[in-house]
Subunit: 237 residues, 2 copies
Amino acid sequence: MSDAYYLRLTDRLRELLGDPDACVEGRLPAERTLAERFRTTRVTLRQALAQLEGEGRIHRSNRRGWFVSPARLDYDPTRDAGFNDYVRAQGRRPRTEVLLTDTRPHPPAAEALGLPADQPLFHIRRRRFVDDRAVLAESLWVVPERAPGLLEGDYASHSLWGQLRSRWGLSLAHRSLRLYSEALPEREAAELGVAAGSAGLSVRRAIFDERRRPVEYDEEHWLHDALCITVELDGKA
Amino acid sequence: MSDAYYLRLTDRLRELLGDPDACVEGRLPAERTLAERFRTTRVTLRQALAQLEGEGRIHRSNRRGWFVSPARLDYDPTRDAGFNDYVRAQGRRPRTEVLLTDTRPHPPAAEALGLPADQPLFHIRRRRFVDDRAVLAESLWVVPERAPGLLEGDYASHSLWGQLRSRWGLSLAHRSLRLYSEALPEREAAELGVAAGSAGLSVRRAIFDERRRPVEYDEEHWLHDALCITVELDGKA
DNA sequence: CCAGACTTCTGGTCTATACCAGATCAGCAG
DNA sequence: CTGCTGATCTGGTATAGACCAGAAGTCTGG
């Protein structure tokens, strides 16, 4: 396409990523060091780093440095498997932090579920980690009539969907998903420890039971390089 | 978070986007003009523009300028509706260009379909437009036994899946999807007229009939700001 | 030994300037 | 009217230098 120097620089950096001498424990040398090594300026170097960041090869931690990104997590938003389960199934270490819970109306969730905007909903906000890297900030809203007493239970350590099924006999039959790439909003970026506006992936889900009664709505914000969405579909014409 | 000037600049630019005086026909003023207007340098301005680009608000056309991005296209990769249909259904104008067709083995497709790597496959590569903006570069591979004579037919103007069903009685029962954000590879970037490494979304699909025989595999590369994936799921426990 | 202050290192942001390369269009020659 | 040429517009890439703010390690006084 072009013989832009920074693209060639990007290739040279790519080689560097696999070199354990250069990247100790997945950490790249400082920008100033790299700029000097490649006889260029930080501005140009940062363009090349941003390129690799867009490819999902590296990521930055605020004012700490650049790090090699781990493999993407495979994630099927149509399945009921809990986060902990599928992270472990891929040989990674999951962790979840509940940031807040409350019960109040949330118009966007209500609208997606076809409920009146002032309908109070159980709300859980949490942050999830893979191998100690925060990769997901999410909020979920559950219709109180479907799962009375949810917030009093141990909603943190077990799969929420598993509980909805086993404790309240819900079927989660109908799902409506929307997902698109985004720039992370300020709040989510802060929770994930990245700069506002970093590349992310937004997943929104509305769930209804077999009688088409609304059950749950959730909004997920993932780091763009952290996941690969996989969906398996059977039957249907 | 921070009081970075360029983030405030981003907000000021955001206001500008809706202003028909400033953006004639969706085209932003030149970078030098904007930099002067906001009393800053092109370097800083370009950071702000890149931010808006990440948000999907604007996009660039190589050495022509910056343009306001249209609304995202809703797209359900699990449905059979043809591209032309759902683009029109959203009041937009679709167009498709076939870039090449051939018949030869393609190991990645074969692997996804569970076929030997040297199995020849019908291959169609095309580029698709919404309102004259190229938004999608895709390749698809069809198992010749499932649809003999496919490449001799009129595969361009009608829904390919519709033909697979009506002409060859296929059911397309099982689908396996993978999607993730990516930096557009050189080839796809060139076909879409954007810089290599621009943000994109990759969708790969493997399709099997009701007897689990492999039918088709395809690989789509979308501009990241051009679409919103929606999926509707029914039934299932 | 520990808590808090200080130093140093990192990336984050910004200014100013320069030249290159593709896109575009006006104008000219045929 | 047509097709080419060249000027001019745009963004793309690059240099050099500066200061700021947060992260992290170090040192010091209790």
